[in-house]
């Protein structure tokens, strides 16, 4: 386990050094010794990381959640609509609180349906969540009236753009969420069962683990993480947008697999996912900083996913363990 994590750290270091050298030699500025850059990368990493920590549970359990791309947008739209409707009546604080609760509660619905489809009706996760991707996408656009929904809540906007002791508030919230999920995954029975289900569903069933219930909760957790990402997005961009998370589903899967999780389930950690999300953020922000055509980012992240999976497969073979054909 530490080996895959070390690999990810190493990759991050090489990436940062490479961009640093490029920036120094071409533009004579430092990439990493720059507060703005560090803060920007951290803020940049917030949404992909939030999606990715939920995705970590899903992938460890042997599944994948594609629907979070639009669950996030769905949350931004619901939050915006509710906050705009509730704030004038309840005041900014209470209005925001109600809107946050309503949007997170709404996110549990696609999560619950994903979980039931996969755990009860045995729909393959790829297909079940792809279907939900379409459903949530359509509903999010319908609720938004096909456009973006501006928000007028000063507290939400200050959460999205403010900072505490020089650290952006969205980063603090994300780190807190990450720590909670790290605890859940590494220290609780729920986390233990997530690994067990990914390792062997049969063994889990025969050990009396309620595989269906745990699976449903995993997908709800993933959807709620996407909801939190949506809330922070709404604060940062002061608007709800159905397409907010669309490009991020690839980033989230990339972060998880770069972080050492196997797409075949059974392994992965939140810390690994953090490194993976940082790698993705550095690739994206760094490529802008050193003035590479932005579309190369997609190419780079896609290639990194594929390489990570190949390395994972190779390591399984070399590791002396049994490879399931």
């Amino acid at each position: 386990m530490w080996l895959t994590s070390a690999r990810a750290w190493l990759f991050l270091a090489i990436l940062v050094i490479g961009i640093e050298l490029w920036a120094e030699s071409t533009f004579h500025v430092s990439f990493i010794a720059n507060r703005t850059n560090l803060s920007s990368i951290a803020v940049f990493a917030v949404a992909p990381l939030l999606l990715a920590i939920g995705q970590t549970f899903v992938i460890i359990s042997g599944g994948i959640d594609l629907s979070i791309a639009f669950t996030m947008g769905f949350a931004t739209v619901i939050l915006s609509q509710v906050v705009n409707a509730a704030s004038p009546v309840l005041g900014d604080t209470l209005g925001l609180l109600v809107a946050v609760i309503v949007s997170l509660a709404a996110c549990t619905i696609p999560g619950l349906i994903n979980g039931l489809l996969i755990a009860r009706l045995r729909v393959p996760p790829m297909i079940g969540t792809l279907g939900m991707y379409g459903v949530v996408r359509g509903i999010a656009y319908l609720l938004a009236g096909g456009t973006t929904v501006p928000v007028y809540n000063p507290i939400l906007i200050s959460i999205g753009n403010g900072s505490i002791l020089g650290v952006p508030t969205v980063v603090i919230i994300t780190v807190f969420a990450m720590l909670v999920l790290h605890y859940l995954l590494s220290q609780t029975k729920f986390g233990q069962y997530t690994y067990a289900i990914g390792g062997s569903q049969q063994a889990s069933l025969r050990s009396g683990i309620n595989v269906r219930r745990v699976t449903v909760w995993i997908y709800i957790l993933s959807a709620v993480c996407a909801g939190i990402a949506g809330i922070l997005y709404t604060g940062r961009f002061t608007a709800g947008a159905a397409q907010a998370g669309e490009p991020l589903v690839l980033d989230s899967v990339a972060a998880v697999v770069i972080g050492g999780a196997s797409l075949f389930g059974g392994s992965g950690t939140i810390i690994g996912t953090l490194i993976g999300a940082l790698i993705v953020a550095v690739i994206q922000y760094g490529s802008v900083f050193i003035d590479i055509e932005p579309f190369w980012q997609f190419v780079a992240v896609g290639v990194v996913i594929i390489i990570s999976v190949i390395v994972d497969q190779g390591q399984k073979r070399l590791g002396g363990g049994r490879v399931d054909e």
Binding site: Q187, K189, Q192, G198, G199, S204, S207, G208, I209, R322
Partner: protein, 259 residues
């Protein structure tokens, strides 16, 4: 043992004096009668081999005993009283453990986590529950030691263990949870010869501790070296039963194929 005597016992529904007893158990799947009024008895400390060809009903019978299936008709007695196992968990809670040839362990978890899978001990720190990994490893090591199983590293995924070691971990798990009845489904099927011997020796030593063991195997040599009695099923029905010491492999084969 006389079949008619058992049949009449089933009719009177008298209390069972055995550790485990199935009386007139049938199981129907749609139009297929997978198990037809089978009687089965197991005493504490006894190893009963369950033999039969593919489709003879061996796995249906053990799945009824372990709570995976429920009998269509017939009664199951456990420790003298009628027992109803709605699911594997209730059977396990009563002390009926099953060891499957390959599917018993989660490969990606370590020995301790596998021994405790589904029943992890939890300690609280500031009110928050934490799975107690150290205790799991420690207790797993203790249990394995009592079985003379030596594993150098308990903190590695069981994927890294050999087939025999994995089987030993599964047996250790059953022992740790005070199994009264242990069902072993082809426990030696995927093992090399030295490891087969180790598992057979473990089986005997568990029986000496008073565990009742149902031993399913295709391998007659294993059956003869480990069991006290042999029960043969054929096409879902009881084909015969005999004491191992008084029978020869040929007799069992005849019962299996119905010659």
């Amino acid at each position: 043992m006389s079949e008619t005597a058992i049949r009449s016992a089933a009719e009177t529904n008298a209390a069972s004096t055995y550790l485990l007893e199935a009386r007139g158990v049938s199981k129907r799947f749609g139009g297929v009668l997978a198990l037809d009024k089978v009687d089965f008895r197991l005493a504490a400390g006894e190893v009963v081999a369950l033999a039969g060809d593919n489709g003879a009903g061996k796995s249906t019978l053990i799945k009824i005993i372990s709570g995976v299936f429920q009998a269509s008709t017939g009664v199951l007695f456990f420790q003298g009283a009628p027992a109803h196992f709605d699911n594997p968990q209730t059977a396990r809670d009563s002390g009926i453990e099953t060891i499957y040839q390959d599917l018993a362990l989660a490969d990606n978890l370590d020995v301790g986590a596998n021994v405790f899978l589904g029943r992890e001990p939890v300690r609280r720190i500031l009110g928050l529950p934490f799975v107690d990994r150290q205790r799991m490893r420690h207790e797993a090591a203790e249990t394995l030691k009592t079985l003379d199983i030596e594993l150098d590293r308990l903190d590695r995924p069981v994927r890294a263990l050999s087939g025999g070691q994995r089987q030993c971990v599964a047996i250790g798990r059953a022992l740790h949870w005070h199994a009264r009845v242990l069902i072993m489904d082809e426990p030696t099927a995927a093992l090399g010869v030295p490891e087969q011997r180790k598992v057979l020796a473990l089986t005997r030593s568990l029986a000496q501790r008073g565990v009742g063991i149902i031993f399913i195997s295709h391998n007659l040599q294993d059956i003869f070296s480990v069991s006290d009695r042999i029960v043969v099923l054929r096409r879902g029905a009881l084909a015969g039963a005999c004491n191992t010491a008084e029978s020869k492999p040929d007799d069992i084969v005849k019962l299996m194929v119905g010659a």
